[in-house]
């Protein structure tokens, strides 16, 4: 794993794109900081699996996609949806279990979906989105479109049968799917290095005879660059790619887990020092892509968006009890 380019200029991206990626990462960070706050105040029920520290992956990947493309997300999925441009208000309302949420309060934090943006659901079962993404890729082939599907999943999911079964099919049939493994080193409390005999999960691509790439998951520009290649390859009908993004889960598995007893504080601190947002911000400033003043405006703007989302979500009513019986089937509403 080496960063190919030293300078931002080498990535040959317009300023607007560079700024958008900064803004997208901030949206995720602020959104989830707010969730931490709401959770601690008792506004939010259930589990909150936070993506903080991993923002560069969703943003680097999704900035290569259009709204016609597809992605499957995970239990740690807020970042993927925000990066794909989903509505923060409806997301926050769903997180609080409100009527105006994306899923009318029936999905919650783990299952936010926005089919209009190609998000085919966020999954509470580790590795279960991988075959769904593969089917979406198969569908694009049958329908003769150039749509690409991204399967987001974690390091632990790479040890599920679905990982092998699905990539095997995608490779055999050259399906337009990009498999993005977010290796944050821990499956709840279990260190991937203690249950898997390979340092780089991307080497598994060898078994399927497809490209396997390891990338610094905390470097948004590198994630963007590597994904761009994979998406291009998929659109051209050359088949899938496995991308392993090395990153770290700053928080515990979810907000009820402090995330301390199974890992060293030193390790956590080292990764936090490599914050994907802070390092990118410094690069943008050092290379004079933006001014400090411009960044302040962006940050204030994102803070306003999050505040509006929270206000919207808090004002939104809870669903009526009868909502529990809706949306089971397309017809025969309420069939139990």
């Amino acid at each position: 794993m080496e960063n190919k380019f030293n300078s931002i200029k080498d990535y040959n991206l317009p300023k607007e794109k560079l700024i958008k990626m900064y803004q997208d990462m901030l949206k995720i960070r602020y959104f989830e900081n707010k969730i931490t706050d709401l959770y601690s105040k008792g506004f939010m029920p259930g589990l909150a699996h936070l993506y903080i520290g991993e923002e560069a992956i969703a943003v680097g990947v999704c900035n290569n996609l259009t709204e016609r493309d597809f992605a499957t997300s995970t239990h740690r999925g807020h970042g993927h949806l925000i990066a794909q441009g989903c509505d923060l208000k409806r997301m926050m309302a769903e997180v609080l279990g409100k009527e105006d949420g994306y899923c009318r309060g029936k999905g919650g934090t783990m299952h936010i979906a926005d089919f209009s943006k190609g998000i085919l659901g966020a999954n509470g079962i580790v590795g279960a989105g991988i075959p769904i993404a593969t089917g979406s890729g198969y569908s694009a082939k049958v329908r003769g479109t150039d749509q690409v599907t991204v399967a987001f999943f974690g390091d632990a999911a790479s040890n599920q049968g679905t990982f092998h079964e699905s990539i095997n099919m995608a490779a055999a049939w050259k399906l337009p799917v990009v498999y993005v493994c977010e290796n944050n080193l821990y499956g709840i409390s279990v260190d991937i290095r203690k249950v898997t005999n390979t340092n780089d999960l991307a080497t598994r691509a060898l078994a399927y005879d497809i490209p396997g790439v390891v990338v610094d998951g905390n470097d948004v520009l590198e994630v963007y660059r590597v994904t761009k290649e994979a998406v291009k390859r998929a659109r051209k009908g050359k088949g899938p790619t496995l991308i392993e993004c090395k990153t770290y889960r700053w928080k515990g598995h979810h907000l009820g887990d402090p995330g301390r007893v199974y890992r060293l504080e030193k390790e956590t601190k080292e990764w936090m020092a490599r914050c994907p947002i802070k390092t990118y911000k410094e690069r943008l400033l050092n290379e004079s892509v933006v001014t400090y003043k411009e960044l302040i405006i962006i940050e204030e703007d994102v803070k306003r968006m999050i505040k509006e989302a929270v206000d919207f979500a808090i004002k939104s009513p809870y669903p009526k009890e009868k909502e529990a019986f809706k949306d089971l089937f397309t017809e025969q509403e309420g069939v139990k």
Binding site: G107, A113, A128, V335
Partner: protein
């Protein structure tokens, strides 16, 4: 009326729907050259080409999930799972994914997915190729469950399943594929949730799922010789279940026997009985009874296997016991 086999009826249903809608695709093990393990669907691969009819690797969970992903993005897949025993391998994609994604997404998703599988003992294929696992999928909200009896029923119900915008689990009885039945030539479909009264009677209602409805019909021919006039009902679909037809019948006959080839414990027969009990309680002249496969794995040896699964003779005896006490 012309006569064709149950297998041919299934094949016709798929063929007609694939011709009608280019978004219908067909995936499963051994479906290309062999036409499926039971040779029910030959020729479709040649007719519709490699992408629309495709052999999958032996990866039940993920090719079911692949069907789901295709269903979510504009296609109308039919996924074949060779034996209902193998449904267990795909239960995450069926029960946690396909069954729930519409609900979890607040109605955004549509899942026009048909999963065909087989049930039933009788081939000496022992404990992992003979089970009737309809109860497992009936248990999970979000799945429609279809149990056709004859070839004509299978054809009409399968066409409805394929056109349905929800996940449908379609159980074919493996002992039926080579049997010949009258099947209309003209196109038709059969709606879900409407039971079929195969024979009217006044002394006992026998509800039989899948081909047990036909076995019950045979048993009724013998029962009439004993002066017992049985009413035979094929529920066709377990989800949705046409409770009204069963309730109406039991109110008339005062007796109910439910026959299902699944295991007894927490099975379909128990569910049907309990779901109508309150409505028929004061009309009953005898306790509701059930005939199912015993709560043991399906054994290999013919003598052992047939001893634990329901058949015409057992239906006849049980019905006689219920009526005559």
């Amino acid at each position: 009326m012309r006569k064709i086999t149950y297998g041919q009826a299934i094949c016709e249903a798929i063929d007609e729907e694939m011709a009608r809608d280019k978004n219908v695709i067909f995936l499963g093990e051994d479906i290309e050259v062999l036409g499926g393990n039971f040779r029910a669907t030959p020729g479709l691969s040649e007719k519709y080409g490699g992408w629309r009819v495709r052999n999958t690797p032996i990866s039940e969970n993920s090719f079911t999930g692949l069907g789901l992903g295709a269903a979510l993005t504009g296609l109308r897949p039919i996924v074949e799972i060779m034996f209902s025993d193998f449904l267990m391998l795909a239960l995450d994609q069926i029960g946690n994914q396909a069954a729930k994604i519409r609900y979890m997404s607040g109605g955004q998703a549509k899942v026009p997915l048909t999963i065909r599988t087989t049930l039933g003992g009788g081939r000496s294929t022992a404990a992992q190729h003979s089970q009737s696992l309809q109860a497992i999928v009936c248990h999970i909200p979000g799945l429609k469950v279809v149990m056709p009896s004859s070839a004509a029923e299978a054809k009409g119900l399968l066409k409805t399943a394929i056109r349905d915008d929800n996940t449908v689990i379609f159980f074919e009885h493996k002992m039926e594929y080579n049997k010949t039945y009258e099947v209309p030539e003209k196109e038709y479909t059969i709606p879900f949730g409407v039971a079929n009264v195969l024979k009217n009677g006044k002394d006992i209602t026998i509800v039989g799922t899948s081909n047990q409805a036909l076995k019950a019909l045979k048993a009724a021919e013998e029962l009439i010789k004993e002066g017992i006039d049985a009413e035979i009902i094929d529920p066709r679909t377990l989800v949705p279940l046409d409770k009204d037809t069963i309730i109406k019948s039991v109110k008339k006959t005062g007796r109910l026997l439910i026959v299902d080839e699944g295991y007894e414990r927490c099975g379909v027969a128990a569910e049907i009985a309990m779901s109508i009990l309150k409505d028929v309680f004061y009309y009953l002249n005898a306790p509701i009874e059930r005939l199912t496969t015993a709560n043991v794995p399906l054994p290999f040896s013919i003598i052992l296997e047939f001893s634990i699964i329901p058949d015409e003779k057992k239906i006849y005896q049980k019905a006689k016991e219920i009526v005559k006490g």
